[in-house]
Subunit: 238 residues, 2 copies
């Protein structure tokens, strides 16, 4: 019979030098003072780097904003929780009585945090290369399913779709500066919601590039605070 | 006579195998389509990992929230811009005409971004260990000046100071659940602004821990949106 620890290490394809690190990574803060929150901090940073590195190389022409969004989709809580479920991580978690009763082992946040803590524990236990390899194994399926670069929509299109989905009029783009010699032209474009006091400015070496950047900025703003264009924008409780 | 490239590489204590990466890291988006934004994305991720790793080891008992805040202070734009200035990075930047005229080479954001791009370029050129070593060299002074763990204020104290500085009444803490056997007690505490409809909940194995977490959550909320307690909280332009 294999112990739970052995089963999980086999699933991770990593054997801990010090199994206390594995235990700590599996311990939710509801169960003990010595829990996985610090390891999660470390694992989150490593995972972000590994995924940044993958999308950077996978999409050699993609602008930074799109790389960020691709990464965010890969490492978001629900994605990580799904991976944790393939490892049956919930069976290995140590939770406090309250969390146990309320089914905390099924919660995305607890599963995703534990997965990141496991990555942090491997970084601590086996070093950078071991932890990087673990990240790549864990994310093998979503990384293999990354969209083709040509299918990624540009920012103006995404902003348009975002507004249309909310029955809002399309934004207006307006050049605010255009300067520099012909071979080194510089543009600044204002992107404005016509029914709302919200705008953004994008710059670039062409009008098109400046418009895309302005659209992206506005989209970032709207996605951070979707209620803004519903006319509210008041801070909500976490 | 040394070339500018050689001077900068000497200052970084890193010699590029492919100097085009160095040039790209120094190229602001106002100057060329082939600019440093993607490298900045990569460098930012590496820097965040390296600093996470340092504070994790430097402060073995510090909760995750405090580690995050320490890191944020080390990698914030103004801190990185200060480091870029010690390298005289502004003399090496490639900026578009508009940015040149408006003194973009003095701007914190442009300097900090270029520094992160340099880190990304070294990751690409020399691999993880070389880039990690560069981060540690660049941050040597601030890392040597990290506060003593015992001097770090706890979250309740910081929340109190935050509110007092704004002439606001102190928050109220209230236990909302207390359960579990004596050796494995679980507490949930509500932290509430008495003059504002804003509250947060913290959990933990002791009342004190739960209060600290609740205070921290509220502080995070307030720091993300300082206008909330000024009674506004409306989304502002970026």
């Amino acid at each position: 019979m294999s112990s739970p620890n052995e089963i999980l290490q086999a699933a991770l394809d990593y054997r801990f030098g010090d199994e206390r690190r594995l235990q700590r990574a599996l311990t939710h803060r509801s169960a003990a003072h010595d829990n996985n929150e610090r390891l999660e901090f470390l694992g989150d940073a490593l995972l972000n780097l590994v995924v940044a590195d993958v999308v950077f190389h996978e999409y050699p022409k993609l602008p930074e904003g799109d790389l960020s969004r691709l990464r965010a989709a890969l490492v978001r809580e629900s994605s990580l929780a799904a991976i944790a479920r393939t490892l049956a991580l919930s069976e290995h978690l140590h939770l406090g009585a309250g969390e146990l009763r309320s089914g905390g082992f099924r919660r995305d946040s607890i599963l995703a945090d534990a997965l990141e803590a496991l990555i942090g524990a491997v970084l601590l236990d086996g070093g950078y290369e071991a932890a990087r390899a673990l990240c790549l194994r864990l994310l093998k399926t979503p990384l293999a399913a990354l969209p083709d670069p040509s299918q990624l929509k540009d920012s103006k299109t995404r902003l348009q779709e975002f507004l249309q989905a909310r029955s809002r009029p399309l934004p207006e783009y307006q050049i605010i500066t255009e300067e520099g010699p012909a071979h080194r032209r510089h543009f600044a474009v204002n992107c404005k919601l016509i029914d709302h006091d919200l705008h953004s400015v994008g710059e670039g070496s062409s009008r098109k590039l400046a418009e895309q950047r302005a659209a992206q900025q506005l989209l970032d703003l709207l996605e951070r605070a979707p209620r803004a264009i519903a006319g509210e924008g008041k801070l909500d409780h976490a």
